[in-house]
């Protein structure tokens, strides 16, 4: 299955946030979207997952999602969005209950995703007991449990400290090696993008337009061994983005 954005433009009132954006996320592919703050990255992700309707253009699905996918387009949020009144296990079973996966089948799925995200011994913990990194692991486990065709990740590591971020990046790469999920990964952190993205799409300042698309051929698991290449890409992206980021920083904004 392929997720496509076809000439999408969107405005909030008079403010145009996205302008004529076309991109696609193929099967097993991680597409990173980077851009200065306020360039409409999150809006783009909301449009991709059907939480918002674009003014022009459309988000399209090409091909059928896998038949065992309960929720083809699944989000991972920056603030984790875990229910504080449910345990780790309960948070995952929440999203299975509505797809009438129950009892043994649900238990099997939960055990599997908890093992994949290294959370097995925390099944009965409350979210308040977990560190930020563990909370995001739970959120990723929850997303995996519905077997998504594409994961829509909205700055999933931005609320974490840099050490936790490193750990979680390694985990995501390992997980991708196992599951081969596809993802649209929004971030403002270029280091994350060059570590995790098969393709990096750089947006310009508001209204967000595609400025550059960079494909990185180095396999995800080997990038850590190619620091020269990745940091060269990262530097080039930053050179291209710096002036816009500075201008965006000095902008008054009424759009959340």
């Amino acid at each position: 299955m392929e997720l496509i954005l076809d000439h999408v433009s969107h405005s909030y009132g008079d403010v145009e946030v996205l302008s004529d954006i076309s991109l696609s996320v193929g099967s097993g592919e991680i597409v990173c979207i980077v851009g200065p703050s306020g360039c409409g990255k999150s809006t783009l992700l909301r449009i991709l997952g059907g939480l918002e309707k674009p003014d022009h253009g459309a988000a399209l699905i090409a091909g059928e999602p896998p038949s065992d996918s309960l929720n083809p387009l699944t989000y991972v949020f920056q603030d984790f969005a875990l229910l504080p009144w449910r345990t780790v296990e309960g948070n995952i079973s929440l999203v299975l209950e509505d797809h009438s996966v129950r009892k043994d089948k649900a238990r099997a799925i939960i055990t599997d995703v908890l093992a994949r995200t290294k959370l097995s011994e925390f099944a009965n913990a409350w979210p308040r007991q977990l560190s930020g990194g563990m909370k995001q692991r739970v959120a990723i486990a929850r997303a995996l449990s519905v077997n998504p065709a594409v994961m829509l990740m909205d700055e999933p590591l931005s609320a974490l400290d840099s050490q936790t971020r490193e750990l979680l990046m390694d985990d995501l790469i390992e997980l991708w090696g196992q599951v081969g999920f596809s993802a649209c990964y929004i971030t403002h952190n270029l280091a994350e993008a060059v570590r995790l993205g098969h393709r990096i799409v750089m947006l310009s300042r508001r209204p967000g337009k595609i400025r550059e698309i960079v494909d990185i051929d180095i396999p995800l698991s080997e990038r850590i061994n190619h620091p020269a290449e990745t940091s060269a890409i990262q530097r080039r992206l930053w050179e291209a983005m710096r002036d816009e980021a500075r201008a965006a920083d000095r902008e008054l904004s009424d759009v959340a």
Partner: protein, 287 residues
């Protein structure tokens, strides 16, 4: 680095600091401590102890004649009135009549209140239509409407239950829809993004999220219910704590009056304790 070397460095550092204090006497002093305080520590015994001390002082004051018996009866007299109540068995008659009205009035009021509150919070049409009425009717003292309730619901239990019901209804509505409004929007968006049904989002995300606010609303509405209970029982009730207090007041039997008031306090404490239990049970996730 070897262990010995580490130890040596450690001892040297320690010696250096103490040297510093000695060699520069007068010049070196510790940074003054300015932290501490403003932290609550639990003192379980203080409240009962203070209560006992106050009662003893009161008793002594009454015995010595410092407190006139006409102004305030001695605690022992009030205790006597209380034990009379137990001996004659009248306490159960009064208490059961009051509890019946309280439980029915409060439960119905809370139930309807939570439903209306949810409806206001979830449907903008209901909010636009009903919430101005809530704001308009909430500040009316329900006791003022008691004569109307008597005409509508009869002089018997109906009017008393209705007074409590209406008194409980409004604060519950406001607590409920305030609670729902404060549920994290991101959690709702999360539910939608995972394809949860509307009913599931309400049941599993919105109601548990609003529960802390609803329960603290219950705390307030329960106290309002007790106040209204007494007020309602002062009109045309044969039994009930309010009727007992009214009768005591009419006869200037101040010892009985104090006994009745004590019953109300115990009732209030019990209700507060029950709600604390419910909070601990239902909100255990908050720790």
């Amino acid at each position: 680095m070897s262990l010995d070397a580490t130890n040596e460095i450690e001892t040297r550092t320690r010696r250096n600091t103490s040297d510093l204090q000695q060699s520069r006497k007068g010049l070196v002093k510790p940074v003054p401590f300015r932290g501490g305080g403003f932290v609550h520590t639990r003192h379980r015994l203080i409240a009962p102890l203070l209560f006992v001390v106050l009662v003893i002082l009161w008793e002594v004051g009454s015995q010595t004649g410092f407190i006139s018996n006409i102004a305030l009866p001695a605690p022992s007299e009030a205790a006597g009135a209380m034990s009379d109540l137990f001996e004659t068995g009248m306490i159960w008659k009064h208490l059961s009549a009051s509890l019946y009205r309280l439980v029915i009035g409060w439960s119905l009021g809370s139930l309807i209140g939570v439903f209306v509150g949810l409806a206001i919070a979830l449907f903008s049409l209901v909010r636009a239509g009903v919430s101005p009425f809530i704001s308009a009717l909430f500040p009316i003292p329900k006791i003022a409407l008691l004569p109307l309730f008597i005409i509508w619901f009869g002089i018997g239990e109906g009017s008393k239950v209705a007074t409590i019901l209406f008194g409980v209804f409004f604060p519950t509505v406001i607590a409920t829809y305030g609670g729902v409004d404060n549920v994290d929007r991101n959690l709702i968006r999360m539910g939608q993004s995972f394809g949860l049904s509307w009913m599931s989002i309400v049941r599993k995300i919105i109601i548990p999220g609003a529960l802390p606010a609803i329960l603290s609303g219950f705390r307030i509405s329960a106290s309002i219910a007790i106040i209204l209970l007494v007020a309602a029982e002062m009109i045309g009730a044969e039994y009930g704590i309010g009727a007992y207090i009214l009768m005591a007041g009419a006869l200037f039997a101040t010892d009985q009056l104090i006994a009745g008031v004590a019953m109300l306090s115990v009732l209030g404490l019990t209700v507060g304790w029950l709600i604390s239990r419910a909070e601990r049970l239902l909100l255990s996730w908050r720790a």
